[in-house]
């Protein structure tokens, strides 16, 4: 545990918790403008959170502790990832936790908790949303693992910091088939995992098509605020991982306030650009029919697998 890692970890947590709602707000604002609406402003998610947090907690009758602990766990797991993964600096507060498998498992844990909470409510929507989410998850998790694993082949380590560091040392390997295929696969699964179009529509409450929203339909007040915050953080974490795995420049590798400041700025710019691109794409995409989703995810899994194959074969 080195000082840079601790400082970076705290900084990362602050940046992601503070910035994640803004990223969501930015995406909504871009969509609104492109669709000819004025939009609520970039800070609207924060205003929503403030309002929710002031409300009295309420939970449906008959729900168990799972329902009440799920939002906390969602935020907590995401927060751990936000602290350890290489976003602002490659030095990690807990290097052992910055491992590919740990990070993916933590993120999956949050999703599973929310799915369980959806079932726990005992309503039709909760169960339906949970079953859909788990279907998607079953295809998404292996893809994320395999795709990042393909990148780790050359780094010789599954530690995310080591992977990012090795790309910094040798940028030319980014234009290899392995990393290109992995990039495509990761983009697809990140879109699916964060509940964006064309897999899920974050702005809809139309029962036939909901996935994520169906699971959290019963939440209200501070719990809802945590769920919303957790989802926003997950989006930022995934976008940040994608950005740093493929465009790692700017990330702080050595100590120093200046390096950390550059790291924060670079991270903010990268995530903002990716979020803007995603929002832009969403405007032009129609939602995929639900039974076509496995097709999309199977395709991205195949790409990830091919990426590992080529990483091993074409050295």
């Amino acid at each position: 545990m080195n000082p840079l890692g601790v400082a970076g970890g705290v900084l990362q947590a602050v940046v992601i918790v503070g910035g994640a709602p803004l990223v969501v707000g930015l995406m909504r604002q871009i969509r609104a403008r492109l669709e000819g609406r004025a939009g609520a402003g970039v800070a609207q998610p924060w205003r929503d959170l403030r309002k929710q947090l002031r409300k009295q907690p309420a939970s449906p009758r008959g729900t168990s502790e799972i329902y009440r602990s799920a939002p906390v766990l969602l935020v907590a797991t995401t927060l751990v990832v936000a602290v350890v993964a290489p976003f602002v600096t490659t030095a990690s507060a807990l290097p052992a936790v910055a491992d590919l498998f740990v990070v993916v498992a933590l993120l999956a844990l949050g999703t599973v908790m929310i799915a369980l909470a959806g079932i726990d409510t005992g309503t039709a929507f909760g169960g339906m949303g949970a079953s859909r989410e788990v279907t998607i998850l079953a295809l998404v998790e292996p893809t994320v693992l395999v795709a990042i694993f393909a990148l780790s082949v050359r780094a010789g380590s599954t530690n995310l910091s080591a992977i990012v560091g090795s790309v910094l040392d040798d940028p030319a390997r980014l234009v290899s088939p392995a990393s290109l295929l992995a990039a495509v696969a990761l983009v697809v699964v990140i879109v699916a995992e964060t509940g964006r179009l064309p897999v899920d529509n974050p702005a809809t409450h139309l029962e036939l098509t909901m996935v994520h929203e169906a699971m959290v339909l019963e939440y209200a007040g501070p719990d809802l605020a945590l769920v919303e915050l957790g989802s926003a953080m997950r989006l930022s974490v995934y976008l940040g991982l994608l950005a740093n795995l493929f465009v790692p420049w700017g990330v702080a590798t050595g100590p120093g306030v200046a390096a950390l400041a550059v790291g924060v700025a670079a991270f903010a710019v990268k995530v903002t650009l990716l979020a803007a691109a995603l929002a832009l794409a969403e405007v032009f995409l129609a939602k995929l029919r639900l039974f076509r989703v496995p097709e999309l995810l199977a395709g991205s899994f195949l790409l990830a697998l091919l990426s590992v194959t080529t990483a091993y074969v074409l050295v």
Binding site: L181, E295, L303, L305, V313
Partner: protein
Amino acid sequence: MGIEMSGLTVQLLDIAAGALLLTAVLVVWRRELSVILRVFALQGVALAGLVAVLASAQRSVELGLVALGLLVLRGVVLPLLVRRSLAGAGPVRRETTPMLNVAASLLAAAALTLLALAVSVPLVALDPSPATRAVPVAVAVVLIGLMVMVTRRHAVSQVVGFLLMDNGITAVAFLTTAGIGLLVEAGIALDVLLVAGVLHVLTGRIRETFGDTDLSALRELHD
């Protein structure tokens, strides 16, 4: 073969091989036949690029000319021919009901890629060089082409599957020993072109006699 390749050449070779595989996957993934044909043309270009990289690595003018020929044949002539079959193939422009649904075929393609990796082990072991390391990728393209042929029902899809196989075989040929003699190479190219022509004519006849190019209608002959 003991040809020294610079890092850049190896990288270009890898990208061409990757493009070959990616286009094969996209053919499995997409249902719209016109999209499939565009992807197939791209694969022809990738194949020609692969041979061009090898030609520049070996400083061989002959191989460069072969690359040019491949570009014309597989990037332009064959896609145009199949496009004409599609134009004459009736109203159905999509692979509507493949025998294996798309998600399953994608997973099958993943399995086939691993199989290709396994069967090419002796080939790579015989002569470990950047070019032969890409052989499993080309073998995977052959197997994916075979799968497309077996599981698709539209006549045009089957033709594309056959040509996919052939692209893969050509890639194997050039990645191993840089071709198998100009005469045989020319004969193979001619044969492929003629088979594509024959299938083009037969597609028209199927449309004429069956009123459709869905091959599941071919049930006249059985025991």
